[in-house]
Structure formats: C-alpha cells, structure tokens
Symmetry: C2
Subunit: 220 residues, 2 copies
C-alpha cells in the first residue's frame, strides 16, 4: 500500500446523513475524532440524527453542510441524487465529493442494478459537479454494522474510484480511519457502475447466508 | 455455508480452453482429479494445451467437448461468444454451462466494461442456450496464479450466479475443489453484469498494487 495523506482534523459533511448508510458513516467518523456535519433537506431531522450519533456531530441543511465541510459524502437516495447535487454546485465547487449512492431497484426477486444514463451515480455526480473533485467510495459498507455499538471493527475493504489521484488517496485515508477498514484504490470513475451495482449481489449474498457480507481484496 | 452436492468424478469440459483463463482452470480441475477436456476450434491446438497441462487432460474440438463433458465451462473470447454458443446449442442441451467470460474493452486508460445487449455475457449465453442450465462463475480467477506450479492455494471466493439452485450449488462445489477457493452464491443471473465488469476494476487494482488481487467475502 502507498503512503496516504494525513486527514485528521478534516470536517466530514454527509448529505443525506439521516439515512442508515449516511448515519452509520457519520457515527464512525465522529468516533474517529472527525468533526462531522449531518445534512438533510430538513435541519431539524439533521439535528435529530446528529444527536442520536453524539460524539460532537452536528446537523444542518444540506447547503450549509456542503459549504462548511472539507470533504462531502453524498448518501442521498438515488431518487433525489441529481436534483440535490444540481442545487449544491456552488458550495461544492473545489471540494472532494464522495459519492456512495447505489442506484438499485427492488422487486420480488430481490435487488437489481438500475441503468444510469451517465453510466453510474458517481459519473452523474461528476457530470453535474464539474468544479468538484468527485470520488466514488463506501458503496458496500453495512449500515447495520456501522451503527452497531457492539461492532468495534468493520471487516471490509472500501473500494475508492476516481480520476484525481490526490482525491482518491485522501478518501482512501479517510476510509482507513474506521477500525478494520482499508481504503483501496478501485479504478477510474468510468468503472464505478459495477462497484455500485455489486451492492445488489451483496444483498443477495446477505439474504442467502444471513450475513452482513463485506468485500476484501487478497494479495494487496 | 450450505451443504453442497458431490461433484467428484464429473468430467469438466472447457470451451476456449487454450486461453490462459481456461487453461488455468483446466489445470486446477485436473489436479483435483477431474477428467478434463480442453476444447478449441482447432483439435490440434486443444491437444497441445492438454499436453501442457498433463494430469490426464485431453483435447478435442469444442463440439466434441460439449457433447462429452458433464459440466461445460465457457472461456472463449468475448468476440466469438455468441457465435460459438449458437453452434453448440444441441450438445449443450440439458447441461450445466458455466460462463466465465468478461466482456471488456481496453484503451490507454486500462480496462473498461463493454455494454452487452442481453445485459451480460451470462445472460447472452442463457438467451442462446435456452435448453441449458446457465450459471456465471470464475470471472475473477487469476490465470497467472492458476497456472503457477509454485501456487498451492488460490486465495479467492468464486462468485456463482444463476437462477437454478441445483446448478449454482453444483458449481459452488466445483469451485471449492480448487485448494483455497470457496464457491459462494452471488445472486441471480440478472446481476451477472457487474460481476463480469468488476474484472476491469481488478485489472486496475493489479496495476496499481502490482498484485494478483482476488475477492473474498467477509462474514459468510
């Protein structure tokens, strides 16, 4: 593994931080000592989520979080992804924006990948946020494990994708502040679709094996 | 993990078995005691590949392999995938057909997933081979490791996808005869695209980390 940049002290903002995935990540970053801002369309709901996490997390509207945070994680529902980001182009300019959204559909047979015009949620973010440094990561984290106080370590490699080396290195370092987690470079943004879509397979695997499966890469 | 069926003694045929991926799998199945048939358009080249593997492997034309084998692995280049399978509909009828083809393109920036009209190579196989039991598996195996006599164990979970439980169970059992490998159910065939496409990411990972990365699933 390469040397990764120092990320301690960076303020982490999480758009859509009231959902389980966002809240789980917020909790782990707050536990690791990062100032954490939970964003929501509704400042009150954001504050509620922040209170439930504790460890100094604060809540605010998405726009305020986008403006204040050093690194912004996008954990909004796929349904509102494009509209939410389009409204935040300005406060997100120049920042590392980490998309962790999985465009999935569900039916009786389980989860499946939705087609995305831009190729992937991450590429859609990059198309909208032309002045931001878009990275894709944290797709496969289990919200259940992140939120479970009995789980000290999360046994998982976070695949980090992007075309800006300094940005992907930074997000790899950020992933690695969560005990047990390793941030691993996972390729360019054009190869984000399959990483997002693989979440559908993990859902099938979890159902079959009654597990919270994570991905580890061997030999690195 | 569930109990898997007995597969010892089953004859494994490998279409396109003269390529590295097919030859690597052939070698490991032969070492595990399976009768192995290597298929190619050219019987002479098939026999050469079989001779290089030894351990009782035999070579023949693809059609003869399809007719004789109990389980048939499809390891042909994506380029000839549809045509090869269309010509083998009859000998493959009723059999478990395991597609391990990754439809990838390559340019200066590395590998990327090709769009597939049917959704994935495996779904294309299922669309062509309507009387076969199509399973997708063995996408992420490293040919280099499979072919390396110094490698006793391959540190890898093989994701096995399909809609026929008995067939996926059988292929999971087959994957597990390779020392170190575990066959894991990975979802329905409609979720095969992202597993095939993830090979592009593994290629990027291998390049970045100078590795032969494999995938392991945690918590199962």
């Amino acid at each position: 593994m390469t040397d990764l940049p120092e990320v301690s002290g960076l303020t982490i903002g999480i758009l859509g931080g009231t959902g389980d995935q966002g809240k789980g990540l917020a909790r782990r970053f707050a536990l690791a000592g990062h100032p954490v801002l939970i964003g929501s369309r509704d400042a009150g709901r954001a504050q509620e989520a922040a209170d439930s996490i504790g460890n100094g997390a604060r809540g605010a509207e998405n726009a305020a979080v986008a403006a204040e945070a050093d690194i912004v994680i996008v954990a909004v529902p796929w349904d509102g992804h494009k509209a939410t980001l389009s409204a935040l182009r300005e406060p997100l300019a120049g920042k590392i924006v980490v998309d962790c959204v999985n465009p999935l559909g569900f039916d009786k047979q389980g989860a499946y990948a939705l087609p995305v015009e831009e190729g992937s949620a991450a590429q859609q973010a990059a198309a909208v946020l032309t002045d931001s440094r878009v990275v894709a990561a944290f797709h496969h984290v289990s919200a259940v494990l992140l939120l479970d106080p009995a789980v000290d370590k999360v046994d998982l490699d976070v695949l980090v994708l992007g075309d800006d080396r300094e940005a992907t290195d930074t997000v790899q370092a950020l992933a690695s502040v969560i005990p047990g987690v390793r941030g691993v470079y996972g390729g360019r943004l054009r190869n984000a679709h399959q990483v997002e879509a693989l979440t559908a397979n993990l859902i099938s695997i979890n159902r079959r094996y009654k597990a919270h499966a994570g991905v580890r890469l061997t030999d690195i």
